[in-house]
């Protein structure tokens, strides 16, 4: 399964300075999702052809039919300066699991309600599934990992509206 997600190696620190402005009109009904993908971290993302590549998830491996071990990428900082660790991964997962249908595109992206996360250390975690889930890495395309401040102040709408259903 590891081979389904190609590693994405962080380049050196020399990167270019962002420059210029573009104005966009995007009438696509999934614009809300595209904005999210443009601004938030995810365990995995896709390359231009749609192939999954690692993002916060630097590498992963099945250690049995029901346990997925994940290495969390080091050196990720959220926009507010907080470092992204396995604890942020676990918090995002547990916030998502609160809802019966956290994803507007469909509940087939749901992860089994009895799934749990065990933190090994700040950069490694184990996901324990009640039954094998061969599609979980693809489902993680719909899992967004924000900073602690996001959950405390906004939380996909439910800090203000009282529900998270439908606000992903």
């Amino acid at each position: 399964m590891t081979s389904q997600v190609s590693p994405q190696v962080a380049a050196g620190q020399e990167g270019r300075t962002p420059v210029g402005t573009v104005h966009v009109v995007d009438p696509h009904p999934l614009n809300w999702l595209y904005i999210t993908w443009n601004t938030m971290e995810e365990p995995v993302r896709t390359d231009e052809r749609g192939h999954m590549v690692g993002a916060v998830l630097e590498d992963s491996r099945w250690t049995g039919e029901r346990t997925l071990e994940i290495d969390v990428r080091r050196g990720i900082r959220f926009q507010d300066g907080e470092e992204c660790t396995a604890h942020n991964f676990k918090r995002a997962f547990e916030e998502m699991q609160r809802w019966k249908a956290p994803h507007p595109p469909g509940s087939n992206l749901n992860i089994h309600q009895d799934t749990t996360i065990e933190i090994v250390d700040d950069y490694k975690l184990l996901i324990h599934f009640p039954e094998p889930d061969g599609l979980v890495l693809g489902k993680m395309r719909g899992m967004h990992i924000p900073s602690t401040r996001f959950w405390e102040e906004i939380g996909f709408g439910y800090r203000k509206l009282g529900t998270g259903e439908g606000h992903w």
Binding site: M1, S3, A10, T21, Y34, G134, R141
Partner: protein
């Protein structure tokens, strides 16, 4: 999603957008090679698509990128002084969802569904309906998907063979075929209806669902409480990755818990999906994804029409990087000649 109304957790995502959404570069992002390469992106939700098309084609500094360009506007973009057309092979399909649950017509018979597929002139559809910016569909999985590749070829355009098969399956004399679609697919549906009339010699009643009735129609399809008011629904669907198409495309379209399933669950499909969903070996999972696509093709569970490209109108001084499954702009950058760099914006 399940058929029981109180177990269905349908979600509305139709909410008013703010007039503008401004993204500013996070220059501290870990993946510096990818980006961001732009300092600022402004999404304008207060400009209509028609107005945006005029602005990107006729001006500089107003609108740089317009998504979801209609095939009808391709020539407008291609002849523009300021804009260029970008066509991306996208994980998208347009197909006819066949309602296998109707009681007065043999849509539960694969021969009928194959006949519908053989009635379609896909080359004409691609040429005239999409301006050439699409591929004829063979199954659900596009040929450029990374996972689940197969060697399927589109059903042949064979009007005589289609008519013979259609009669063999026992389509009732005088029974019109009820075709439905959404407003933005009306042109495709009209061409499809012409093909059905010409090949099968039947009446086709085409219903264009108005935008104001879209939500109710979506509820009816997803909840599956009342009989569906169509025989075939011309419908567009997508994937979020291209690694395992069966997970999000086939599962949503035909699975027992799939919101767009039209007709009873299919036992063999469920067995294949069950094996696919619990398979943790990537190689075997790819084989199963291809097997699932072949099964839905052989059974003609849908009328496979076309894989449309995603079309963008982009200012000529923008180096646009398009994606098969998303609209992200981390790698997109502007040249020195771009208005924002000339102006220092």
């Amino acid at each position: 999603m399940r058929a029981e109304p109180f177990a269905c957790t349908w979600l509305d995502t139709r909410q008013d957008r703010t007039d503008k959404v401004v993204l500013t570069a996070n220059a501290d992002h870990w993946n510096k090679e990818r980006g961001p390469r732009l300092e600022k992106i402004v999404f304008h939700n207060d400009i209509s698509p028609a107005e945006a098309l005029n602005l990107v084609c006729d001006t500089e500094g107003e609108v740089d990128i317009v998504t979801e360009i209609s095939p009808a506007d391709i020539e407008r973009v291609e002849s523009s002084e300021h804009a260029r057309l970008h066509a991306i092979d996208a994980m998208r399909i347009i197909l006819g969802l066949v309602n296998r649950g109707v009681e007065d017509a043999p849509l539960d018979d694969a021969r009928t569904r194959r006949a519908l597929n053989m009635a379609v002139d896909r080359d004409r559809l691609v040429r005239e309906g999409f301006g050439g910016y699409a591929y004829p569909a063979a199954g659900v999985t596009p040929p450029y998907a990374i996972g689940g590749l197969s060697d399927l070829q589109p059903y042949p355009h064979d009007p005589e063979g289609a008519k013979k098969l259609f009669r063999e399956a026992g389509w009732p004399d005088g029974r019109a075929l009820r075709l439905a679609t959404l407003a933005d697919l009306a042109g495709v549906a009209e061409m499809f209806a012409e093909d059905l009339r010409d090949a099968l010699g039947i009446e086709v009643e085409l219903t264009i669902i108005p935008n104001e009735e879209l939500l109710a129609a979506q509820h009816a399809l997803v909840e599956k409480v009342m009989p569906l008011p169509f025989d075939v629904l011309v419908f567009a669907w997508i994937d979020l990755t291209s690694d395992a198409p069966a997970a999000f495309m086939h599962g949503e379209l035909y699975g027992e818990t799939g919101p767009f399933r039209a007709g009873p669950p299919v036992e063999k499909f469920e067995n294949l999906m069950g094996e696919f969903a619990t398979e943790v070996d990537a190689g075997r999972q790819g084989e199963l994804s291809a097997e699932i696509d072949r099964f839905v093709y052989d059974e003609a569970l849908s009328v496979f029409l076309a894989y449309p490209q995603a079309l963008y109108a982009v200012n000529k001084h923008v180096n646009f990087v398009g994606y098969a499954t998303t609209f992200e702009l981390a790698e997109t950058e502007v040249k020195e000649e771009h208005w924002s760099r000339r102006n220092g914006s």
